[in-house]
């Protein structure tokens, strides 16, 4: 017999809040849903963000910082140099 495991990022259900303890987790799941459904967000940003937030609330947003810092042709000289 084979077992199938659902991809947690693909099945987002709106659950009623049963207690206050899981509110952070509820907010994270709701954020994940809004981000996934937003077609105006570009794929590069989604690709970096979704893995970050699919399991827990991240305290390190380095991948997003890298996206900001990843200017095309950044190796070129600037007047400051």
């Amino acid at each position: 017999m084979t077992k199938t495991k659902k991809n947690p990022t693909k099945t987002i259900e709106k659950k009623p809040v049963q207690s206050l303890g899981d509110m952070n987790s509820q907010a994270r799941e709701e954020f994940l849903r809004l981000v996934t459904d937003d077609t105006t967000l570009n794929q590069t940003w989604k690709g970096s963000l979704i893995p970050l937030i699919s399991e827990k609330i991240p305290d390190d947003l380095t991948p997003l910082q890298d996206l900001i810092d990843g200017v095309p042709h950044a190796q070129a000289e600037t007047t400051q140099n």
């Binding site: 206050l20 509110m23 907010a27 994270r28 981000v35 967000l41 940003w45 305290d59």
Partner: protein
Amino acid sequence: MLRLKQLKIKNCRGIRDGPNLAFETGGMLLCGDNGTGKSSYIDAIEKLLTEKCSSLDSGTQGLSWKKHGTHIKHKGNPEIELIITDEKIDYIISDKQDPEKYPKHVVAFLDSARIHPFILHRKTLLDFVDAKPGDRYKAIEGFLQLDEFKGFEENLKELLADCTAKYTDADGRKDENVRALQLRLGLSPESPVDAETCISKVNQQLISLGIPSMKSLRDIPDRVKKAEENLAPLKHDENLQKWTNSRTIIGEVQKNEVVDAAGKNYSESRSKLLTKQTGIKGHFYAEILEQGLKWIQEDKLVRCPLCDGTIQADDVARYVEKRIRENNEIITLTNDQNQKFRTFVSIITSNRNALIKFKTSLPEGLDPKLLKKLDLLIAAYNTLTQTHNEMHPPEKIDDDLGLLTKLNPDNDILDLTTQITAICSQFSDHERYGNLFNAKTTLEALETHQKNLALCACELAHYEESRDQLQLLVKHAEQARKNTVQNLMNTIGELADTYFQKIHPEETIGKPQLEIPERGTGSIKLTSTFYGKEDDPRGHYSEGHIDTLGLCLFLAICQVQHRQNPEFSLLILDDVMHSVDGGHRLRTAELIFTEFGDHQIIITTHDRMWFEILKAVSRSNGNAKKFKEYYLAGWSIEEGPVLGDHLSDYEWLISSEGIKSPPADRVMKAGRLLEQILQNLCDTLWISVPFRLRGDYTIDPLWNSFYSKAKKQKEFYEKAQTCLESIEKLRQQRNWVGAHWNAWALSLTADESKRFAQSIIDIRKYVFCEVCNQFIVRIPQLEDQWSCKKEHLKFKKN
């Protein structure tokens, strides 16, 4: 799990020296007339567990625990000790104990008590219903526990701020490169620096030197090479190269009139902004005003959702328009000031750097006096750039410009240039050499600055896109938080409705809805249904319905927080049932003891009948936990509360004490028991009673209605006829001793009072089922049969 075990109390509020109270596993029920000290006990518990006393520390002017917490005849502090237990060890909670010495589970219990609402007072019953929407949010904000997600939101906002700062930085560098190119090519400050303009300007230089003109920027390396080829035969003296280089560098220093004009532009712009800002009071929130006005107009709002104040839409529109106009002016002035500040700083920094570079490039042989002037100029620019790395008042900017002008920098630069030109003129071919060298450095500068401008354009596009993405993420995070709180509100609303329907079955009202409006995150709107219409419950509900709605919302909030933290299970209701009638009270009691069966429950009341209902329901079969029961018989300033007999009237009447008691006492208690029985029966049997304000019914109308109905209920009347007729005959005794004490009471015999009491004890056996713990009810589906839930008592109509 920890629970309260005992409260020891001295000199606190209305209490002098006890009596102390004990709490059973189920809790404690305390009855006493108004002013007998019930709330003093609750205040003491609240103060110890939450470090505040809501009846004194709620912000009412002049009231405080410090001032009013102590008994009026006592000068020291109140002495309160609350003993809590985990059934193995007892822990003393008092203000003398060091909280750090408590074990972890006691600390957690006390922490929960501080965060979670668990006490409802009569005067706070309607706090949530009556509160302004903003205050409603505050009431639950403490236990929303979204800190971790809020931290994530803050991190996203920091990224957005970082991205915006990088955009501004790139924009500033773009401006610097534009200005540097304009200066190098001798273009005016308004001139564009696109490739075509720059090439045209450089070509004039190249053609005059016999070097082919350029068609595109890609030609630059080739023309640099050609300039070098032309220079090669002229490089017969190293010093000529050095002096020419120095002269080129000093040519990069912008004239003082340029510096002065940039400084004055900045100073004037800053002055305008500051003057405008001084004339505008308070903070300005453009988005809130614009959105707020839109909502007021679209929703035709007449009351403010935040403060509940009246809204005059036209006045608001005029005010918002004025503030938005003012704000737009401020934004324009701020942008102008920032732009001019950046230009000024860029020019003085560029001049300082050029002067330093010039000094290091100089060969030996320059007049020492000129060198000294150069040092003074460099020092002046150093001071200027250090001072103006942040914004200063316009007067300071003007003063510093004046000091620079006094040095007469243009003269110094001219002297230096003249002397270098004189030195160069001693060399043959110096003029052609100088022109070729200048053309070469101009070509190199053009290549560098254009490359930088391309990079800046790239960065600006990248940061702009990143900023857009981050703005969306920040918006989604805020929406996610809002939706989550709304989900919680829905849960609380649904739970409150479940409770409300248990108290008010088959009444077409309820469905409280708590809504976080789209217009703000910090407020909650409360609506409820009344015969299909959704509205503010205060507009349609009776006093009793609003009271039970307030209670149900509080219970729902307690229940939801209990699910989060099952280890803290304490519920205190301080005299909250006031305007609710008999049947609703019974269902309220059943609701509390059923839904909060895993809690320790403390209830105080001034209402003896509600006390009896609570006692009966708390002792019913389904509840295994025990409750301590107290009755406060009186209060004096010297002694404080006085404990009395907590037995119910029925328990007292059948006790040996009741049998031996004086006739008047017996009749009084029997009469009160009859009143309680009749109040319940009129409700459960649907018997119409002439209307009395606030449900304040006396025995006579209740009895007349019931007796008339009972005679028509054939089976019931046949069985209960004897005691019914006896009550009808003897009930006047109640008026003699109870409501209207008079001389007739003195002639009451023991035999008469015993017969009256026995009649009521007997009728109770026909109408109250001890097994189901309920009065008989009318069942229309069974041809109006009167029976208890499981038909232990059953009377058919015919």
